[in-house]
């Protein structure tokens, strides 16, 4: 610990950061704009001036930019110094000269860093008497709204978009007092991370376009800590609602997972919660071919409970998009033997393989932070930008570790961003992208290899063999691939903290085995190795811990045992398996019960639908791709019609079996699960329990400035209505309580006295991260459990190996119910090799038919040379391509051709 004297008082601090960061962490307010905790310092805005003194006898001092000055032991500074104060007030005066002062009509108003800083510097009087420069705004697509006149030219937007996220279509134009931040011309921002501009920009230039459509001031939002449901990474979010409508998603800082950022699917996919296809009351059919009609809640429970008295078994199908609690409750209801997971046989084998690999690997299980710090990265088989977007952002940061090391050698401080980028132009860490399809990371990769999954897997085996001679070697490798594998192995072995990244996206268990094999072999020569794999859904990992089998097994069981009913929990079976299997599962049993929040194709087949709460209306736990238990809390108070899946099941259980466990609250289920399922031992530690209090208070979901508390319902009663109770969490549906909790899992909004914007996050630092992942590697873990390299890819005469092509906007189920995301999805695409396309007389944009014996789907052609001859890539998750389990050998022909 070192000592820093601020205005003559000593403070203890950890060296290594700049003065600004240090002072903010100590609770001081220093106005700043261009510095950002993830983007570091460039010293562009000159707002963070403080006085620095040589020693205790120096009473003159010099003005320095605190963000550009390292905090060192025994340093003496003054924040309150008159000159420094005047300097800061003057600077903000300049910055505000052209600002339109339009806070009342600005979406940022009330949570604006510029407002906070202006008030903080005391620049309260408008002195500019001249004409202001004005700009034309651009249409930047469905996510981000643009209002350039509010810009103060801090450069944060381009530093995030271009430097941090690798975007190439947002720039700064012009010079002098007329700089413009935007695109070359109006058009959709191409980066998957564009939505972060909303939080990164300290003013109202970039705001959330979807939020505008149902706008609410921050102080009127009722918010809760949440977890993203749109991929397996489980980024931490804050969900804000008002009057039961989910208004927006913001980032919730998590040191190990998403840091300060989210992807656009996670930020803008939320609108399915308000969607028109929501089920908000129980629905039932009088007969199989009748319509679904509303049903009374208790009648619905009774009807399900009766299914259990028939003597015939009930099959339960859980899913990776339902919470761990709901899946566990279902498992308890039907019994572990009759609990299945909504995954096809192949999908299930891959998910299981990944969870197995992650739990058994001798290497460490990498968090996103570990990946971002990796000295070398091997991406094997996974198009992370489209399946686990934040992982791609982390990989992109990893490419800079060499530049950081280089800068360190030159004596440059680790936060001195401009200097590091300047000296690191030609220094790049090793990144290998070996995937079946083209990826957006190719531009920063040092080695790129696109080939069908089996060849990717073979490369993996070859790397593992190069690292560890005892690992199985693939046969018949070409000398080039062999040399490539040796080079990659050498880079990984020599790197500090090398990471192996893979996942379920390629649809190949062999790729996953290969990646696990590389990690194991790498660990033998480099103990800092880590492994990161993405799964298909937000709770795929958790669901796997409960040990259900796949849908084919479910159908077998239903047939064999002459099942009375099947209960499907938050899944659309048609999206996850062969339509014949889904269809049989939904027609064979006498009764079909679906618990879901949306009327999916599966729910439409049900005899009874129990409306589930979404992540915004329920609390629960997801286990992310690294096995981290993360709790999400309801932002919307319980409503009459629908309830969390586990609550429906608890009610059914209480009718079915008097000996069934009594689950009154979420904690009851959590505790029960912890005692019954050994693999779920981490669940209780995911977040403080409902009895947790800070001081004696719960955490407030609303701001203490929430307005209209008594007026809102004055049309029905002038008496103040009681706040909805929340027995499931330590949060209250009330403005009363702790506003800025210390526990990361309970942060419902970022706020500090005087700091109303999201930048208040800088005041929360120093929290212990909610790290829960423990190493579990057993002594035998390094064994490559008998995996063998597949044979090399060989084309077939009249069929093509069709590989999965993932789209960040379009392949995921729930975000596609969000109009903004759906507007960016294209129709299903098939990408062909130019020679194959010529052979089939298919040209770019032609209508194409892809089929197997049972299915045929229509798609649009694209032609690209990265596709290996004899293979093709087809959009997954689109309605057109549903039911295919890619990679698959399929027929391809031009639509209308014989």
């Amino acid at each position: 610990m070192a000592t820093l004297y601020i205005d003559n008082k000593p403070y203890e601090f950890e060296e290594g950061r700049n003065l600004l960061h240090t002072c903010l962490g100590l609770g001081f307010d220093i106005p700043h704009f261009c510095w950002h905790p993830a983007l570091d310092s460039v010293g562009a805005c000159r707002q963070c001036a403080v006085k620095l003194f040589k020693d205790e006898n120096d009473c003159t001092g010099t003005i320095v930019m605190s963000c550009m000055t390292a905090a060192r032991d025994n340093m003496r500074i003054s924040i309150d110094d008159k000159e420094a104060h005047e300097f800061r007030a003057e600077v903000i005066g300049f910055l505000m000269a052209n600002h339109p002062h339009d806070c009342p009509v600005c979406d940022e108003g009330g949570e604006c860093h510029l407002q906070d800083m202006t008030v903080l510097t005391g620049h309260t009087y408008r002195e500019h008497r001249f004409k202001k420069r004005t700009h034309r705004n651009q249409d930047l697509g469905p996510f981000v709204h643009h209002e350039m006149n509010r810009c103060i030219a801090c450069y944060r937007c381009v530093r995030f978009y271009r430097d941090y996220a690798g975007g190439k279509d947002l720039e700064v134009f012009g010079w002098h007092d007329s700089v413009y931040f935007g695109r070359h011309e109006s058009g959709v921002l191409a980066s998957e991370f564009a939505g972060n501009l909303v939080e990164v920009c300290p003013t109202g230039v970039f705001t959330d376009k979807t939020f505008r459509k149902h706008f609410t001031r921050k102080w009127d939002l009722c918010s809760a800590p949440s977890v993203c449901v749109h991929c397996s990474l489980g980024c931490n979010t804050i969900a804000g609602q008002r009057s039961g409508v989910l208004r927006r998603i913001l980032n919730r800082f998590s040191e190990d997972v998403n840091g300060y950022f989210l992807c656009d699917r996670g930020r803008f996919g939320y609108e399915f919660v308000n969607g028109s296809r929501r089920v908000r009351t129980p629905l039932a059919k009088k007969g199989r071919n009748q319509k679904l009609e509303p049903l009374d809640r208790s009648a619905a429970i009774k009807r399900v409970a009766e299914l259990f008295s028939s003597g015939r078994p009930v099959i339960g199908i859980g899913s990776g998009r339902a919470s761990l609690e709901s899946n566990f409750a279902l498992r308890q209801l039907v019994g572990p033997q009759r609990f299945f997971v909504a995954e096809s046989e192949t999908q299930h084998s891959i998910t299981t393989e990944i969870v197995h690999a992650l739990r058994r690997t001798p290497a460490s299980r990498a968090s996103l932070r570990d990946v971002a710090k990796a000295g070398a990265v091997l991406v094997l088989g996974e198009d992370v930008t489209n399946t686990a977007p934040l992982l791609a952002l982390a990989v992109r940061q990893a490419c800079r570790t060499a530049a950081l090391t280089n800068a360190h050698g030159l004596g440059i401080d680790p936060w001195n961003d401009a200097a590091i980028r300047e000296t690191g132009h030609n220094v790049r860490s090793s990144l290998v992208v070996a995937t079946p399809t083209l990826t957006k990371l190719d531009d920063v990769a040092t080695t790129v290899y696109h080939a069908p999954p089996d060849d990717i897997s073979r490369l993996g085996f070859a790397i593992a063999h190069a690292l560890d001679g005892s690992a199985p070697a693939p046969r018949g490798l070409s000398p080039e691939i062999e040399a490539m594998a040796r080079g990659i192995a050498r880079d990984l072995a020599q790197a500090a903290r090398p990471a192996v990244v893979s996942g379920a996206g390629s649809g190949s268990a062999s790729v996953v085995e290969a990646a696990a094999g590389v990690a194991a072999a790498l660990y033998k020569v480099n103990h800092d190795a880590c492994l990161c794999m993405s799964l298909s859904e937000c709770n795929s990992f958790g669901c796997t811990l409960l040990g259900g089998r796949d849908l084919t097994a479910a159908l077998d069981a239903a047939e064999r045992d002459n099942a009375e009913a099947v209960v499907v929990l938050e899944a659309d079976l048609y999206r996850n398996c062969d339509p014949a299997i889904a269809g049989a599962l939904l027609t064979l049993p006498r009764n079909v019960v679906v618990i879901d929040h949306t009327l999916t194709a599966t729910a439409a087949m049900a005899d009874l639908v129990l409306p589930a709460a979404t992540f915004a209306e329920a609390s629960g736990t997801f286990v992310n791709n690294e096995g981290r238990f993360q709790r999400f809390f309801s932002a919307i108070a319980p409503q009459a019609g629908f309830a969390p899946g586990y609550r429906w099941i608890a009610e059914i259980l209480s009718v079915v079996g008097p000996e069934a466990p009594r689950w009154e609250t979420l904690d009851d289920i959590v505790n029960d699960m912890e005692s019954r399922v050994a693999d779920c031992a981490g669940i209780r530690a995911a977040a403080p329990s409902a009895s947790f209090r800070e001081g004696s208070q719960k955490i407030a979901r609303q701001s203490f400035r929430a307005s209209g508390r008594t007026a809102l319902l004055a049309n029905t009663s002038v008496a103040e209505s009681p706040n909805p109770a929340d027995p499931d969490s330590a949060l209250a549906f009330s403005p009363e309580g702790i506003q800025a909790p210390r526990e990361q899992p309970l942060v419902a909004r970022y706020w500090a006295p005087g700091i109303n914007s999201v930048q208040a996050v800088s005041k929360y630092h120093g929290d212990p991260p909610a790290a829960l992942v423990k190493g579990e590697a057993g002594a035998d873990a390094a064994e490559n459990h008998g995996a063998k390299a597949p044979a090399a890819f060989a084309s077939h005469a009249s069929e093509w190996l069709v590989m999965p092509l993932h789209h960040i906007f379009g392949s995921e189920e729930l975000s596609m119910l969000s109009p903004s995301v759906a507007s960016l999805a294209r129709s299903a695409l098939i990408v062909l090799n130019p020679e194959d396309a010529a052979k089939l007389s298919i040209r770019e944009n032609d209508a194409v038919e892809v089929s197997n014996y049972a299915l045929s789907c229509a798609c649009v052609a694209a032609i690209a040379s990265w596709v290996t001859k004899g293979s093709a890539a087809l959009s997954v998750g689109r309605p057109e391509t549903q039911g295919l389990d890619l990679p698959e050998w399929l027929w391809i022909r031009k639509a209308g051709a014989p």
């Binding site: 190439k168 279509d169 947002l170 720039e171 700064v172 134009f173 012009g174 010079w175 413009y180 695109r183 070359h184 011309e185 132009h425 030609n426």
Partner: protein, 175 residues
């Protein structure tokens, strides 16, 4: 479409630069030398040639005030408005120049598309202030008379070409 000569000129600059980004100012200059200014189309063509996005290149183009992103006349007059010239009353000359050219301020082009008038920071000719530059030619110790002579001489020199229209004479309306 870039011409053969333009491509050659750009490639030459690329050879002596560590990256495309570093070669960009030279490339823009080379194309501007042959076309007078950088249109959106030229910008896209150069960007493609340098493997950059138009946004990346435009960011560089608009940073330099002497890369023209809108059309200019055949000759660009840079009148110094910096401190020495200000002391020597360049403003008085500015008014004269405006009348002479028939335009109303900096940034405008004469109707015949012959001259564009732009301000410039110190031309490094303070000892001969007030000063101005026409294309690459420097003129010091300016007076109303000397300005008249300079402009007239350019007009005479360009006399033969006066009938040939610059892209601008038809392209832009003058106030």
């Amino acid at each position: 479409m870039l011409t053969q000569e333009e491509r050659a000129a750009i490639s030459e600059g690329c050879d002596s630069s560590p990256s495309a980004r570093a070669a960009a100012p030279h490339a823009l200059g080379a194309v501007q030398a042959s076309r007078g200014w950088i249109s959106d189309e030229s910008l896209s063509d150069i960007a493609e040639f340098l493997h950059m996005t138009p946004a990346e290149l435009d960011s560089i183009a608009t940073f330099y005030n002497r890369i023209y992103r809108s059309p200019v006349g055949r000759h660009v007059i840079l009148l110094c408005d910096s401190v020495s010239c200000w002391i020597m009353d360049y403003e008085y000359l500015l008014n004269h120049l405006l009348t002479k050219l028939g335009i109303s301020g900096f940034g405008e082009t004469t109707k015949d598309g012959m001259f564009t008038l732009l301000p410039s920071a110190c031309l490094g000719a303070c000892d001969h202030a007030p000063a101005m530059m026409v294309d690459r030619e420097l003129f010091g110790d300016l007076t109303r008379q000397s300005i008249d002579t300079i402009i007239d001489q350019y007009r005479i020199k360009d006399g033969d070409r006066r009938t040939a229209q610059s892209p601008l004479a038809t392209g832009r309306k003058e106030q």
